[in-house]
Each structure stands twice: as structure tokens, then as C-alpha cells.
């Protein structure tokens, strides 16, 4: 934190790298209030993503043509991707149907909120704010625990932390590790994986952009060609970020499906 904050106090005229603070814009309501004291861009984008996803899929699903048009086909393809490649393949043919809405909503919610980071003018991955990541991972955390208790009763916790076929001698140790890894570490990694990749990716692009601007505009003449390099690197990172944004949405949903499958499974 200190290292990130220090340059803010550096000499004027030198390069000022963007800090984490730059990701926390002033609020919209009340206008220009300090971050954390009102309704901000991040929340607006969350609600915008809900509107966009709902609108697109309602329109795509509404026609219900036997032979789909382009829009309907795109919607069906997206829906089928989550339904079959994630839901059916991981949770299993027998049980996957009730979880399709959750997986589908999660995937497209995260995907759109991630991609906000790569859309010009919006340019902020909503999921790079940890609150959103916590909320989503929390929903999944509650879901699979409730599901496990519903399916196996209170004995689910024993099922979850006591693996079969472990020698008696090391069983206590294994149980402690299982408790920590399943009930404590799992939701943390689930949320932080998403949040950290989005934050880091966004920060790199911000850094590349700030560096390019500094090198091309403010730096000495002989340093200016270096600005081309940072620009090229920034563009490369931009496309890499799009890949990461899609991939992270997929990983989040994939893990959700795996957790749900684990709760439904008969054995640990």
C-alpha cells in the first residue's frame, strides 16, 4: 500500500503512476461526493448490466421460432453453452436442470461486468471492486451449503470434511485441512480470483495508458519513442484482458457448478 501510495507525493513534473485510488471515482449521487458515500459509477454499471442481459435474452428468447433467426440463434448458442458445457457436463444429466438459471445468470452477469473494462467510455470492470465479487461468491457459498444440507441433512458437514479411506492416525489433521479448505478458503479464493484478475488487468492497462501519455507528451524528446512501445504493449494487454475477462467468467461459473456437484454427490 505504501509503495502504491508513495508516488502520489512525488515531485511535480515527474511521472505519476495511477494508483488504486484512481479506480474509486467520485460518486454520481450526490454528485462528486467522495467514494463510498453514495451511488457511484460501479453500481450504475451493475444495474446497466442487469438491464442489458435481461433485454438481450428476453428479445432473443421471445420469438421461439423453430428455425431460429440470427439473434435467436446467438441467444440459444449462449444459453446452450452454459446449459450443456457447464451445467450438464459437470452437475450431471440427472440433476442439472434446476441450476441452469443460476449458472446462466452468473455467467452472463460476470461476463458483461468484466467486459465493461474493455468497452471504450465505460472502461471499468465492475468486478474489479471487491464488493461485487464478495456478493457473487457469497451467493454461491450459501447456495452449495444449503444444497448440501437439504440433500444429506446435517450429516452433510461430516460428509464434506471427512474423506473416506484415510488412515485413522492422520484423520484429525485431514479433517482440519478439509474444514479450512472447504468452508474458509473456498469462498475467499472464489471471490478473490475474479476480483484480483480484473483489478490487476485494469491496473496494467491504466499504467500503460498513463505511461504512454507521459512518454509522448511530457517526457524529454529522446524518450518519446519509448511511448510507442508502451502503447503497443497497452494494446496487446487490452486484447489479453478481453481473453482474461471471458475466461474468468467461465472459471467462476465452472467452479460454481463443481461446488454444486460436490454438494449433491453421495461421497466426498
Amino acid at each position: 500500500m505504501i509503495a502504491l501510495a508513495l508516488p502520489a507525493a512525488a515531485n511535480e513534473g515527474g511521472f505519476v503512476p495511477p494508483t488504486l485510488e484512481d479506480m474509486h471515482l467520485p460518486e454520481i449521487l450526490p454528485w462528486m461526493a467522495p467514494y463510498g458515500e453514495g451511488f457511484g459509477k460501479q453500481m450504475l454499471l451493475v444495474l446497466l448490466s442487469v438491464v442489458l442481459i435481461s433485454w438481450f435474452f428476453i428479445v432473443a428468447a421471445r420469438r421461439r421460432q423453430l428455425v431460429p433467426g440470427k439473434l435467436q440463434y446467438l441467444g440459444e448458442m449462449s444459453y446452450n453453452f452454459v446449459r450443456n458445457s457447464v451445467g450438464k457436463d459437470i452437475i450431471g444429466e440427472r440433476d442439472f436442470k434446476p441450476f441452469v438459471p443460476l449458472l446462466f445468470a452468473l455467467f452472463f452477469f460476470i461476463l458483461v461486468n468484466n467486459l465493461f473494462g474493455s468497452i471504450p467510455l465505460i472502461q471499468m470492470p465492475t468486478t474489479s471492486h471487491v464488493g461485487t465479487a464478495y456478493a457473487l461468491a457469497g451467493i454461491v457459498y450459501v447456495t452449495w451449503i444449503v444444497l448440501g444440507i437439504k440433500k444429506h441433512g446435517i450429516g452433510y458437514f461430516k460428509l464434506a470434511v471427512v474423506p473416506s479411506g484415510v488412515p485413522k492416525a492422520i484423520l484429525p489433521l485431514v479433517v482440519i485441512i478439509e474444514i479450512i479448505s472447504t468452508f474458509l478458503v473456498r469462498p475467499v479464493t472464489h471471490s478473490l480470483r475474479l476480483f484480483a484478475t480484473m483489478l490487476a488487468g485494469h491496473l496494467i492497462i491504466m499504467l500503460a495508458a498513463a505511461g504512454t501519455q507521459f512518454l509522448l507528451v511530457d517526457a524529454d524528446f529522446w524518450l518519446k519513442p519509448l511511448g510507442i512501445l508502451t502503447l503497443a504493449g497497452g494494446v496487446g494487454m487490452y486484447f489479453f484482458e478481453i481473453l482474461i475477462q471471458v475466461l474468468q467468467a467461465y472459471v467462476f461459473v465452472l467452479l460454481t457448478a463443481i461446488y454444486i456437484q460436490g454438494s449433491l454427490a453421495e461421497e466426498h
Binding site: 502504491l4 494508483t19 467514494y35 457511484g40 428476453i58 438459471p101 452477469f109 457473487l136
Partner: protein, 182 residues
């Protein structure tokens, strides 16, 4: 002062401490999305898939039924064709047999008619011949006698003699004609 600002910035920027409002907005937003997806999007897609599956399966069943029907109709037509051919053959055979029969009957009739006609002709000929013979016998005798009387004159008035001569003559004549008839 400067130091305090840096510390405040560092504290505010701790990325792991969430903004509770963001959590709340995310939860509400996601709940709305979840409701819309579960209520409208997923059922619509599932229904479309179901309908599509049904339509495809129904189409296949319909095509199979149509094919079965068509092959049944084809069999029927083939059967009918075979029947018709057999029928035609039978009719042709019948006609031929009938024709032959008619021909035979006609032949027989014609033969009978011919036999009848020739028999009748024979009878008529015999009758006429008989009549001719009878009339000739009476006429020729008198004519010849008259002629001979004229030629010989009175010499032949002796009845006995003349009768003998006529008889002999006639006998000769008869034997001659019998020989000619034979």
C-alpha cells in the same frame, strides 16, 4: 499533513475492504437478473428446444408413416396390376376358346347345310330322271311305232308282230341306257 493524506489514501484504497453499498447493489441487481432469467429466459429457451425436438421427431414419424403408406399403396397397385394381367389373360383365353367353338359350330352347320342341299339335289335329280324315263318310255314307243308305221305302211298292221318289235326295241334301249348309266 502530507503524511496523513498518504495514510488516508492508502487506507481508502485497500482493495480487499468492500464498499457495502456495492455489495448491496450487486445483490439486488443479481436478484433481479436471476428472477428474469428463471422466470422468462430459461423457460422460453427450454420450451423452444422441446418444441424443436418434438417437431423433428414428429416430422420423422410423419415421414415414416407416409413412406409406409406409399409402400402399401405400391404393393396394392402391383397386386392390382397382376390381377388385371391375369384377368386379361383369362379373358383372352376365353375369347379364343369361344371363337374356336363358334368356328367349329359354323363349320359343322355349313357342312350339314351342304349335305342337306346336295341330298335334296340328288333326290330332285332322281325324281326328274324317273319322270323323264317314264315319259320317254311311253312317248318313244308311240312315236317310234308311228314313225315305223309310216315308213313301212300297211305291212305292219299285224298287231302282234308290231307289239313284239316294239318291246324288243325298248328292251334294247333300256339295256343300253342302263349300261350308259353304269
Amino acid at each position: 499533513m502530507n503524511q496523513a493524506m498518504i495514510l488516508a489514501a492508502a487506507e481508502g484504497a485497500n482493495p480487499l475492504i468492500p464498499n457495502p453499498w456495492e455489495i448491496l447493489v450487486t445483490l439486488i441487481g443479481f436478484a433481479i437478473l436471476m428472477y428474469i432469467v428463471a422466470k422468462f429466459v430459461v423457460p422460453a429457451f427450454e420450451k423452444t428446444f422441446e418444441e424443436r425436438t418434438e417437431a423433428i421427431e414428429g416430422g420423422i414419424a410423419k415421414a415414416e408413416a407416409a413412406q409406409a403408406e406409399a409402400s402399401a399403396a405400391l404393393d396394392e397397385y402391383k397386386q392390382q396390376l397382376t390381377d388385371a394381367r391375369a384377368e386379361a389373360n383369362r379373358i383372352r383365353e376365353d375369347a379364343r376358346a369361344e371363337g374356336a367353338q363358334i368356328l367349329a359350330e359354323l363349320k359343322e352347320k355349313a357342312q350339314a347345310e351342304a349335305a342337306r342341299i346336295s341330298e335334296q339335289a340328288q333326290v330332285q335329280i332322281d325324281a326328274e330322271r324317273q319322270a323323264a324315263v317314264t315319259s320317254l318310255r311311253s312317248e318313244v314307243g308311240s312315236l317310234a311305232t308311228e314313225l315305223a308305221g309310216k315308213i313301212v305302211g300297211e305291212a305292219l298292221n299285224d298287231d302282234a308282230r308290231s307289239a313284239r318289235v316294239v318291246d324288243r326295241f325298248l328292251a334294247d334301249l333300256e339295256s343300253q341306257s342302263a349300261g350308259a348309266a353304269k
